[in-house]
């Protein structure tokens, strides 16, 4: 199975990279885009009995290493 973990800063944490992207777009004349938040995507292959089993495994490694839950939030996609 394939798993994708999306990680980004929590909304209450300042995201200067997101702001920099946004102001760059504004400078390019793109005024209709707001509130950019950037993050990262980690993809992997996983061996699991079923989707639920995979989700549990990925949840575990995300909490323990991939994301820092002090500042980051995440979502998981299995296919």
């Amino acid at each position: 199975m394939k798993a994708i973990v999306y990680i980004r800063l929590k909304t209450e944490v300042l995201d200067p990279q997101g702001q920099a992207i946004e102001s760059a777009l504004k400078n390019l004349g793109e005024s209709t885009i707001n509130n950019i938040r950037q993050g990262k995507l980690i993809e992997m292959d996983i061996e699991a009995k079923n989707i639920k089993d995979a989700e549990e495994k990925i949840e575990k490694i995300t909490k323990s290493l991939l994301a820092n839950t002090v500042i980051e939030e995440y979502s998981i996609e299995i296919s």
Binding site: L9, E12, V13, L14, P16, N68, V70, I71
Partner: protein, 221 residues
Amino acid sequence: MNVTIIRFPGTNCDLDTANAVKKVLGIEPKIISCKENKIPKSDLIIIPGGFSYGDYLRSGAIAAREPIMDDLELKGNQGVYIIGICNGFQILTERKLLPGSLLKNSSLKFISKNVELKITRNDTYFTSKYQTNEIVNIPIAHHDGNFFADQDTLDSIEANNQVAFRYLNPVNGSLNNIAGLYNKNLNILGLMPHPERAVDIRTGTKDGSRVFESALNFYST
């Protein structure tokens, strides 16, 4: 006094820190690899600066999950004194031995310069040789030194008087200008500035030596 320095792959301030300990305290510290199972009996454990595991994933994240960190956590809970400098501070927060987290500098750039710091209190193991509210000058060199904690955590850090050093002027976006802080029991210190680079007036400032001298002072008395 036994001083141990833990080296991770990508640590690059291990030798500087060992030299500073030698110069200031006249003690030969032990440098150990993070691949060892146990930390030898130590009065002070130092996690030096650098780019452990290349700062990949997040600064300090991979190092914080090395098996040797189980022993470090155990020793920290037993009251052994621990300092994490720069990347060492990041590792300690990733391990949750210290509260909060260190984000990218608000300028999004690496910053290398000498900064003025205010000593918050001088009644700890690490600061007895300073005066409270004394202003000292110590270099910083980091990309991810912007201290963040949620409001409750920040309130509790302040309420417990856990801040060790504050930047006199805003540098990297750190909340409350926090440059270094203690755990609740005051036996673990994390700081972004590099005291080991400030032990000889010929290199610009000697203000960092007293972190090490304070530790020795405690040990001797």
